[in-house]
Amino acid sequence: MEGINSSTDAAEMSFGELRKTLRKFRENGTRNATVTYKLGKYMCDNYSSKLGNEVWDVYEQMFFACIDLGINDIGLSYLRQIKEQFPESKRVYRLIGVLHEADGELAEAEELYKEMLEENPGDAAMTKRLISMYKTNGKTVEAVKLLVSYLETYKCDNEAWLELAELYLSEYEYEKAAYCFEELILISPANYLYHQRYAEVRYTIGGAENYLISKMHFCQAARLSGNSSNRALLGLVTVCETLRGLKGVTTEDKESCFKLVKWAKEKLTDKYEKSKVEVSDACPKKNSPKMTDHIDSGLETVCAILDSVKL
C-alpha cells in the first residue's frame, strides 16, 4: 500500500494522510494490524476530537488491530468506549463476541451469537461470525449445517459458497463441493479460478464423463487466464493423459486430447525456460546458486511430469 509499512512513522503524517490511510484500510478490509495499531493509536491520542463521528469507526478498527496483535486488554478499552456510545448496537455485540473468542471463551461467544441470531435471524454478519467460529474449532458438521441454512436465504453470496466448497473438500465430499463450484461459476463465470477448481474437483471424482467435463473447464480456465495459469495447463495435461489411457472414450476425443497435451506441454516448457532466463538475468551475480537452483528444481519437476506423458 503505497509505501506504508511497519517502519512508517505516524508522527510524520498529517491528519489528512492518517485519516485517508485508515479509511483505505477499512474500505479494503486490510488487516495490517501492526501498522493500523501504530497509526490508529497516534490518531486517537492526538486527533480524536478532530475526527468527529468517524472516531467510532477508528475505535472499531483499533479493536480488531488489538485482537490481531493479541493485546486483548487494550482492545477491551476501545470496546468499552464504543459500547458506552452505542449500548444497544448489534455491531457492538458482535465485537464483544469476537473478544470472547480471542480470550478463548468460546462457549460464551457461541451463546452470545446464538442469542443475537434468535432475535434477528437475518443477520448475515452474525451468522458468518458463528460459522467461522465453528470452523476454527473444527466443528465442521455444525459449520456446514449453518452455512447451508444461511445459503438457503442468501443464495447469491459467492463468499459463502466458496467457504462451503472448502468445508466439503475438507470432508472429501467432492460431489457436493462440485455443486458449490458450479454455483460459483454461475455467479461469476469470468473468474478462471472457479473453473480451474471445479475442473480439479471433477477430475478427483473420476470417471470418463467427469474427466471430459474437467477437461472442458481446464480449457476454459486456461483461456480465461490468457494461458497464464500454470495450474490450469498442468491440469489439462494430466486430465488429457488420463482420458487417453481410458477405455470407452471415442477416438475422436483421444485425438483432441493428444493435441491439447502437446499444446499445453509446449506452453509450459516454454514458460519455464523463459522464467529461467529471466531470473538468471535479474540476479546481480550471474550464477547466484539459490534462485537458479530453485527454478531448476521446479523445471525438473515439471519436465519429469511432462516426460512421463508419452506422446
Partner: protein, 245 residues
C-alpha cells in the same frame, strides 16, 4: 437604460435578503437534526423478501450463465426452480399479498416523516416569504439574462418590461433554499440531511430498488423466462479456440 433606472432601497438588503437567507439556513439546520431524531435505523428487509430477491436473482443467473455448466447440472437446477415443487412454481402459484407501500405501517411512517420534514418548512417559509415580501425586487445579478429566466428569477412579479436580471424576493428564497448545499457541507459535514436538492432527488421514483411490489408477478415472469431457456453448452468449442491461441 431601464436597468439603471431602478434603484433599490438599501434597507431591502438588511430586511429582506439577509432575513430570508438566515431563516432558510436555520430551517435547514433544524431539518437536519429533526431527521436524525426521527429516522429509524436502517431497516433491513424482512427475511422473506431477501429470500425472494435472491431466488429470483439466482434464476436469472442460471438463465444467463447456466450454459457454462454441464448439461446435467443445469437441468437439476432448472428442475429445482421450476419443477412441480420448485421455488419459482410455488412462488408463482401462491397468492402473495400485494405489497402496497401504503399498507406497510413502518414504511408509511418513514415516508411521512420524510415528507413532513421536507415539505413543511417549504410550505411554511414559502408562505411566509410570499406573505411578507411579495412584489419585492430583492437583488440583481450583475450580468444580463435572457427573457427565459424571467419565470425563474421574477416569481411573483408580472412586469413584462422589467429586465430579467432582477431577482424577486420569492425567487431569492428558492435560490437560497436549493443553493445552500455548500454551506451545509461546511457546517454539518458531508452527507447531511439539510439539503433540499438531495431531498428532491430522493423523492424521485425508481431510485429505491431492492423492493418488489408484486412478488407473484415477478415469480411468474421469471418462471416463464426460465421455462423457455434451453441449455446449450458454451464450452463445446473451447478446445478449438484454445488451440488457436
Amino acid at each position: 437604460m431601464i436597468r439603471d433606472a431602478i434603484t433599490l432601497d438599501p434597507q431591502i438588503r438588511y430586511w429582506v435578503i439577509a432575513p430570508i437567507l438566515i431563516i432558510t439556513f436555520l430551517f435547514g439546520l433544524i431539518r437536519h437534526y429533526l431527521m436524525i431524531i426521527l429516522k429509524n435505523g436502517p431497516s433491513q428487509g424482512s427475511l422473506e423478501s431477501v429470500k425472494t430477491m435472491q431466488t429470483l436473482r439466482r434464476s436469472a443467473l442460471l438463465r444467463e450463465n447456466g450454459h457454462f455448466l454441464p448439461a446435467n447440472s443445469f437441468e437439476i437446477r432448472k428442475r429445482h426452480l421450476i419443477g412441480e415443487q420448485g421455488a419459482l412454481t410455488i412462488g408463482k402459484d401462491t397468492e402473495g399479498a400485494v405489497k402496497n407501500p401504503m399498507q406497510d405501517p413502518s414504511m408509511m411512517g418513514d415516508q411521512l416523516k420524510g415528507q413532513m420534514t421536507n415539505m413543511l418548512p417549504m410550505i411554511v417559509i414559502g408562505g411566509w416569504v410570499s406573505y411578507a415580501f411579495s412584489g419585492f425586487l430583492a437583488a440583481r445579478v450583475p450580468f444580463p439574462l435572457t427573457l427565459r429566466f424571467k419565470q425563474l428569477m421574477q416569481r411573483g412579479i408580472e412586469l413584462s418590461s422589467l429586465d430579467a436580471s432582477w431577482i424577486s424576493s420569492m425567487s431569492w428564497y428558492f435560490i437560497g433554499a436549493f443553493g445552500m448545499r455548500g454551506v451545509y457541507e461546511l457546517v454539518l459535514g458531508e452527507d447531511n440531511q439539510a439539503d433540499q436538492a438531495r431531498a428532491m432527488q430522493q423523492q424521485m421514483p425508481g431510485g429505491v430498488g431492492g423492493q418488489i411490489q408484486d412478488e407473484q408477478k415477478a415469480y411468474k415472469a421469471e418462471w416463464e423466462a426460465l421455462k423457455i431457456t434451453n441449455y446449450k453448452n458454451a464450452l463445446e468449442n473451447v478446445e478449438k479456440m484454445l488451440l488457436q491461441t
